[in-house]
Subunit: 402 residues, 2 copies
């Protein structure tokens, strides 16, 4: 009855591979390397209960009421202060919009910039939630291959030259510079600077998405695009999902005051405002200066889990020069490359029979390539399950090679 009434957008929308797989992997005996879920044993549950009691006593009437679309003012001030400390950038609350985690950041930025057929430049691969958001507004995506230093900026330049000749407009370049999802690759400082130069020369916005930036387990931190580029060139989105918990769905956008202003109007039409209740909880965690300590705990745990997964891959994966994986300095994911002729999508069915799950790499390629790649999450499963699951996966790959 309703199919003929759907918008063009709705007719072409596809279910998120990850969300669907997450459903499947709630079966308790499947070891899942899918999803990007934090380790739930580190959730600070008692702290939250205490803070809720306090917040409701002190400001119950305020936090249960409607709030500003921009988000709680003191919360935004805390965020500005913290960013000043960690990244050396001066911001005020007027540069910040609170969102329903980073997915809403992706949606709102798309909403204010993308008209159907506008061009957006993305990594090949890149985060599929980004691809879904851009696609839902009718963007035409151009994928740029990654190497060990991130997106190949020279390839971007070539595309831009051609597009300029064809008088086609590029709306923005989407980057996940730190421990990229899905590849785990971090963009080098040289590449970042070069990309900013190109964006300035061609007058294109850079859309920075850095959910894992603070989860670095080794190596030196590289300045963010937001701190490197001239003011107004970059819009950045962040989330508390990975550094605190996903269950309150809180994130934020940094940008020029005027861009934030447009995003606020877009959010008014989308959901009026984010919950004052959950904003107050996270704000108090920051005010009590407990966020950094919590992140330190995550770093210690996830570093060990990364080591555990790398060791298991070393032990159980066939030693074949066509099989390789990344050794990311942070984040939540390893990226596994199988021999060219293998199809991770097809193998997944057999993997599920062996009770192990992963995300097929092709989901992250806007051109449908990457069939022989796999994203592996190491933050969620226990050490024991990482070992067991990689063993199962190693056996499977061995069988497939034969």
């Amino acid at each position: 009855m309703f199919e003929d009434k759907l918008s063009v957008r709705a007719k072409t929308m596809k279910r998120s591979v990850i969300r669907e797989l997450l459903k499947l992997t709630t079966e308790p005996d499947i070891i899942s390397f899918g999803g990007g879920m934090p380790d739930p044993s580190l959730f600070p549950t008692q702290l939250i209960a205490d803070i809720v009691q306090e917040v409701l006593e002190k400001e119950g009437k305020k936090v249960l009421q409607y709030g500003l679309t921009e988000g709680d003012k003191e919360f935004r001030q805390q965020l500005a202060k913290r960013y000043g400390r960690t990244e050396g950038i001066k911001l005020t609350e007027e540069n910040i919009l609170i969102t329903t985690a980073s997915q809403q950041g992706l949606d709102l930025v798309s909403k204010i910039f993308i008209d159907p057929d506008d061009i957006v430049i993305v990594g090949l691969p890149t985060y599929l939630g980004g691809l879904a958001a851009f696609n839902s507004y009718g963007a035409r995506l151009i994928g740029i291959p990654l190497d060990d230093n991130g997106m190949q900026v020279d390839v971007i330049k070539e595309h831009l030259k051609q597009l300029r000749r064809a008088q086609r407009r590029v709306k923005f370049i989407y980057v996940v510079p730190d421990f990229q999802n899905p590849s785990g690759v971090t963009m080098s400082i040289e590449r970042r600077k070069k990309l900013i130069e190109i964006a300035e020369a061609y007058d294109i916005l850079i859309f920075e998405d850095t959910p894992y930036r603070e989860l670095r387990y080794s190596g030196e931190s590289i300045p963010s695009f937001f701190s490197l580029a001239p003011r107004g060139r970059v819009v950045s989105i962040f989330t508390f999902s990975k550094i605190l918990f996903p269950g309150m769905r809180l994130g934020y956008i940094f940008g020029d005051k005027e861009i934030i202003d447009k995003l606020v109007i877009a959010k008014q039409g989308t959901d009026l405002c984010s919950p004052a209740f959950t904003q107050a909880i996270v704000r108090e965690i920051m005010k009590k200066d407990l966020l950094d300590g919590h992140i330190q705990k995550l770093i210690v745990r996830y570093r060990d889990k990364r080591e555990c997964m790398l060791a298991a891959l070393e032990r159980y994966m066939p030693h074949d020069r066509e099989i390789s994986w990344t050794r990311p300095e942070g984040g939540l994911f390893l990226w596994l490359k199988l021999p060219e002729h293998m199809d991770a999508d097809e193998i997944l069915q057999r993997a599920l029979k062996k009770k192990v799950a992963y995300i097929v790499g092709s989901a992250f390629y806007c051109d449908g390539s990457g069939k022989n790649t796999i994203r592996l999450n190491f933050s969620y499963p226990t050490f024991e399950l990482i070992e067991k699951g990689i063993k199962r996966l190693g056996e499977l790959v061995r069988e497939e090679i034969k």
Copy 2:
């Protein structure tokens, strides 16, 4: 730097009058009849603190993690059960999607149905959050005048005949049937049945928005569109903002399984999922069977406040046959009509000087008419402030008449 890159949508987006006015009215000495805020003195703060403690103890790892896009399964089952009891309709959790209150319902339904230039039929006046959502997807709006029995269905029929001749497609008819925002008018049962007949004959969806349905202070409840119409004809959105609290931003959509399925995909790209944490809190309030009792408390309070405002209007408004107001049987608003030559927008500046605020009625008219109308909220201000504020407003109107 970014203005030339904005989408067509963003260039035409307007700030919500209400959200902007809300900001203004946080000044403590202004008496505000703007907004649609619940009475904060009735928020069940201690109950929430207790439930949070319990939820975090029992299921902290689950509620702080990512959840299903559809929403918490048990929460949806509770909602289906409750609706079966109150409206006599059999639903399952597959007919329900949890949203960020009703504004996200408006946005998601627009997202899956509206292509630029599609026609949407709305009330004249109607809820401005609906207008904002439909406009943001490029809808062309046709406004239908209201009388004491709601939207004039005969006028709709005339429009549909003409549109059919012009081969123009109508995507849906948007109705706020119970204690409509802003007018307070309730659509009669005859009108509802007639509208369903027309929607069937012309094969058009009905989009029902009923945030105040359970807040009835007098008269008999009238069956909802969702319960009256054949399955699949109606999509309904609901919110906990008015019957519990707005500060957790929770609402839901009822619809055919296939429509819910499309909405789920749209939500995946928009914000992945609503917070498992806040869903668990409201679910527990329902499971403990505390929601109905809370609504009863609201009804008693708001009924008294409605009486208080009606009495104050009677007392302080000039007795002039060009001045009238509605006497709604429920909801949060009265609708005041001033003499035709008056402009409520202009008068607002003088009202603010007198420290009283309201929402200009024209914000609710898709054709920009209604300049001489005013929406007055009676749920938020105290009895004392209702009396005082209406007195100020009455004085102002008296001055304007002279």
